[in-house]
Amino acid sequence: MIKNYSLLLKSLFFIVLSYFIYKSVHSYIFKSVKDSNAIFFVSSKDLANQFNNNEEKSNSKYNNKIITVHGKVKKTSLLNNRKTIILNGTTKTSIICDLDDHELANLNKFKKNQTLYIKGICKGSLKDVILLNCFIDTKKQP
């Protein structure tokens, strides 16, 4: 009985320990997106132009890197329950910013043509440049 009890205690200890390890690793990864400094700081127009002019070069420069893009809001969308802000780029190419689940900003407060600074991970371009895990970069708001 006592042996069983200590075994139970031990396994409970390990469960609690692994939970805390998981928590700390998780918060570390989460922090790394929100609190990391952007590697590149670029205007939405400039980013769109770079991808239009040389997609391959821009892919190797920006893909999977944290960047801060600033530009004017073209529109916001809640399609498929994703909070998305689209920034004006060129006439043909915009910047699609898919907000991170931890970004709690209310999309309604953003107006068309308002300038925003958005930090996210660049994933490349189709017709538009795509950024995921985005956060509104409040420190850089004008």
Binding site: I29, L79, N80, G124, S125, L126, I130
Partner: protein
Amino acid sequence: MNKLALFFILALFKTGNLLSQQHIARQGQVTFFSYTSVENIEAKNNQVLSILDVEKKEMAVSMLMRAFVFKKDLMREHFNESYIESDLYPKATFEGHFNNLEGSLNQTSLMKGKITIHGITKNIDIKTTIKKTGESYAISGEFNLTVKDFNIKIPPILSSNIAKVVLVKFKFQYLGYESN
């Protein structure tokens, strides 16, 4: 002179008309599911690009493999680095032709097309549901893909974690080309 003006007006009208036949979805959704007894894997891409040409009954799709979101980071890492090799093959594409596309009713239509993943192109038939509301179209459907058809190598140690056949679902909401 009048005839020339008329010609230009007609030409303009014609181009305008052609343009209006093209519809675009910039935030299409593609989801895939892999069910095994060991674990279930689900990944979603919400930034899929698709162009629908109603006149030609054609549809084209392009997506970034890196934009698939997984529940676990490790799954995403394996997917991009080992299986799909996103650096070498960043996009998956599809081009298809509808059997019928009346453009007015809610209908199902069979689409025949070619899908390219991991640099390999396969013919595929997909049953689609088409809904038209006002000027916008919504197209959805699902199909199965066999992993080994696309030369995706899964190490034996993980083979029980990943289904041999993966279910793919898609959902596109189109807007007129100009208004987007």
